[in-house]
Amino acid sequence: MKLTLRVWRQKNPDAPGAMATYELDGVSQDMSFLEMLDVLNEELIVKGDEPVAFDHDCREGICGACSLVINGDAHGPERTTTCQLHMRSFQDGDTIDIEPWRASAFPVIKDLVVDRSAFDRVIQAGGYITAPTGAAPEAHATPVPKADADFAFEHAECIGCGACVAACPNGAAMLFTSAKVNHLNVLPQGSPERETRVLDMVAQMDAEGFGGCTLTGECATACPKGIPLFSITAMNKEWLRATRKVKR
């Protein structure tokens, strides 16, 4: 395959960025999208040009590091992570636009690499169960109904990639935040901190500059792990409940 790539290049957070065009030949359909970028970068390095910077690590769809907007879609045309997207999803002669996540809460570091540390701070605000090591009761002391355990798991699958934010016209992080709130709040172990968790995480989410949610649903469409849209409404319910219970 022969491709025309239009790639966002930006030297550092303060420099202006622009799309740069590269022609790439000899692309195999079996390559992953990131392997295609590897080939481009190998060519650029040998020519003495700077390779395109992008985040990636596990390349098996679970670490959440990769993060590209491809032809306008977060993680590209398939419902998967960029690392699991293969070139057979494209045609010979295609022009492909490759951009970083676009959201004010995710500033660009270089080229296609963005700073997602805002997500870490949302978790730090309450996305945990306080259970210091050594203080745990016997695991079977508290049975968890299977339906609740499955609900928790479905939300715990979030990989923190940020596609939900990138896809959202408002740059909102509701799906990310709600996934963690729902995972922990449904479990009996998470119950003591149920109210403070949702209030603190939502407050931090707002403080990080993520946009407001208008329930357009783009987030759940882009999510490579299939976190459902009702996750957001479930969190809103948790939040309302908490505001009534906790006086601040």
Partner: protein, 655 residues
């Protein structure tokens, strides 16, 4: 020595003083951990906040250790190269975590898990360490459940388990195929709580590039901020390496792309012995490479071998599609060679058998580097729906990567490196030979011997991080109060920074014509060929002659664009390759010197008449701890003799 070794004198290693683990108490094996915890000195809670501990890495071991040490009151300074501590490669573990809970009432016990692990490690692990691991396994499950890890549950609300990897009890706890992810997020969340509380100072996108040793003790690290390129020093009372294994020396592995050996290798260069580097594990069921562009390999759960049948064509170079190859022209080679275990032989045997048939020219798929894993019989027997329920997510993953539908066309699989049992030598306290430097998780060599059992990596990482290190490090801190503050002006720190800066500057100034990746690929192919699934004296010597040549070429032809004062992924990569080029050499030497077959290390010269691995207990019942001398110079071997009081060495047989 031989006609090959004209280039390198590296093989002329010397044997130094034996090394011993002096921290494991004597007495009955099941009392040693209690005894050690009682004998270890403690640090007064009020004094803990005065101590700083550096933790490098945020996987299961590092994340758990950072959180737990901070909970105890220590000031923790923690590092990861990823943009978030949540992305460490522990996240990719699929299968599960072993624990001797005996919830199934199927005869499991701490002693049985201990026994299985010593035996599975082919009698090259310490009994004391392994017993402790089995004891702690039960606490890990309690801890993770309390954190909200969503393990699979039965309808009654209790935890589900499954059997794994050839053991006869059902002791593996799991969270669908994402156990590693869920356990890691549990540790990450505990760590996040401590970051928010100000007890952990977290440096993401920051990579350790050297260890600072002052007066013989580990006192700090040199690290590079990967965003700005700034080189900084950090100081502490103790340093904990939780930086993972070195599987990426092979270039193609199931490790994450950026997993690397720099932290452990730099510590090795500063005096920490490196133990059993040749003990690497190859997983038989990975998706084969599809071409030269391949950047990593993806593992498919071993459970597939429960129902899939492995075969290749009987004839060499048979390129017909699998459906056109009649039954009597297929060779179900595992069922043929190992009639009683068939497709369920252990990982190393399945891997070697696949290599053998491919070497005979009977491999399938691109480059002939693959064998079929066929579910046609299973579908006929159980129905497609049942197969879908059992393996649906794996089949989907396979189809996404290969664009082939495994319900209709047999899967193609091939072995790949996915775990390294070797690592920094540590004593029972998980302390390396550099006082104050600890190594936990895959970064150390301690618990798996020559071969790791399935679902035991997660167990060991969490045992080290949550329970072992937080107990043993107290003893070191209590016995070694540091009177002198160390800062960046200390000559040892100045020297370490200068060496680091010089190395990076040199990488940037070679200005040759080859990319860092091209060298990584070359060294990886070399070790895969000669220090991979099967090793020979001749092949290892070839590799040992070639490695210094590649190293020389690296420093002559490398090309790294950009500068060191910016985000520069080529520079990061090149710097990691520098260390692979040395570590590969030690791996090959270790494999050469260990003229026996054991666990993941198969020496062709050492096999039984029917082609099975033959251990050499008389000569090799020791851990090989290597001391660094200089780049390319022969290292010194220190042997730690292993004794087996509870589990007596036997030869494996699966025929």
């Amino acid at each position: 020595m031989t006609s090959y070794s004209e280039y390198s004198e590296y093989t002329e290693y010397t044997v130094g003083e034996p090394i011993q683990d002096e921290q494991a108490p004597s007495g009955p094996v099941n009392e040693r951990w209690d005894t050690r915890r009682f004998e270890a000195k403690l640090v007064n809670p009020a004094n803990r906040r005065k101590h700083t501990i550096i933790v490098v890495g945020t996987g299961l071991a590092g994340g758990a250790a950072g959180a737990t040490l901070a909970e105890q009151g220590y000031h923790v300074v923690q590092f990861c190269y990823q943009d978030s501590p949540r992305r460490a490669h522990s996240i990719a573990a699929q299968g599960g975590i072993n624990a001797a809970k005996n919830y199934r009432n199927d005869g499991d016990s701490i002693h049985r898990l201990f026994y299985d692990t010593v035996k599975g490690g082919d009698f090259r692990a310490r009994e004391s360490n392994v017993h402790r691991l089995a004891q702690i396994s039960v606490e890990i499950i309690d801890q993770c459940v309390a954190q909200g890890v969503p393990f699979a549950r039965e309808y009654g609300g209790l935890l589900d388990t499954r059997s794994f990897g050839g053991v006869q009890v059902s002791r593996t706890f799991y969270a669908r195929g994402q156990t590693g992810q869920q356990l890691l997020l549990g540790a990450y969340q505990a760590l996040s709580r401590q970051i928010a509380a100000g007890n952990v100072e977290m440096h993401a996108r920051t990579e350790m590039l050297d260890l600072i040793v002052v007066d013989g003790r580990a006192r700090g690290i040199v690290a590079r901020d990967l965003v700005t390129g700034r080189i900084s020093t950090y100081f502490a009372d103790a340093v904990v390496l939780a930086s993972g294994g070195y599987g990426n020396v092979f270039y193609l592995s199931t490790n994450a792309m950026n997993s690397n050996a720099t932290a452990v290798w730099r510590a090795h260069r500063r005096g920490a012995y490196f133990a059993n580097p040749c003990f690497t594990q190859i997983h038989p069921t990975c998706i084969p490479r599809s071409g030269d562009h391949q950047s990593k390999l993806t593992l498919m759960s071993e459970s597939l071998r429960n129902d899939g049948r492995i075969w290749v064509p009987k004839a060499k170079g048979d390129t017909r599609p699998p459906a056109e190859i009649p039954e009597d022209e297929r060779d179900y080679y595992l069922e043929r060679i190992y009639p009683s275990f068939g497709n369920l032989v252990p990982r190393d045997i399945a891997s070697r058998a696949a290599k053998n048939v491919c070497d005979e020219g009977r491999g399938v798929g691109p480059g002939g580097q693959g064998v079929y894993l066929d579910f046609a019989d299973a579908i006929a027997r159980m129905g497609r729906k049942a197969v879908e329920e059992k393996y649906g997510n794996l089949f989907d993953m396979y189809e996404r990567i290969t664009a082939e539908n495994p319900y209709e066309v047999p899967m193609r699989i091939y072995p790949a490196i996915h775990y390294t049992m070797g690592g920094l030598w540590v004593d029972y306290d998980l302390q390396t030979t550099v006082p104050g430097l600890f190594a936990i998780g895959e970064a150390n060599f301690s618990d798996h011997g020559a071969n790791r059992l399935g679902a035991s990596a997660l167990m060991q990482g969490l045992a080290d991080g949550y329970f072992v290190l937080p107990s043993t490090i107290n003893d070191y801190l209590a016995r070694n109060p540091h009177k002198d503050e160390v800062d960046a002006s200390h000559p040892a720190a100045v020297e370490a920074v200068r060496e680091t800066e010089d190395r990076l500057a040199r990488l940037l100034t070679v200005d040759g014509d080859r990319t860092p990746d091209s060298f990584h690929r070359e060294i990886g192919e070399l070790v895969w060929e000669f220090c991979g699934m099967a090793r020979t004296d001749e092949g290892l010597r070839k590799a040992l002659d070639r490695i210094p040549q590649i190293r020389e070429e690296f420093w002559r032809r490398l090309k790294v664009p950009g500068t060191g004062e910016e985000f520069n992924q080529s520079l990061e990569k090149a710097n990691r390759v520098v260390d692979y080029l040395e570590l590969a050499e030690l791996m090959c030497l270790d494999a050469l010197h260990r003229a026996e077959s054991c666990g993941g290390h198969f020496r062709e010269e050492s096999q039984t008449p029917d082609g099975e691995a033959a251990r050499g207990d008389e000569e090799f019942s020791y851990a090989a701890a290597w001391e660094f001398t200089d780049t390319g110079a022969a290292p010194v071997l220190h042997k730690e003799q292993l004794t087996f009081t509870y589990v007596h060495p036997t030869q494996r047989s699966y025929a």
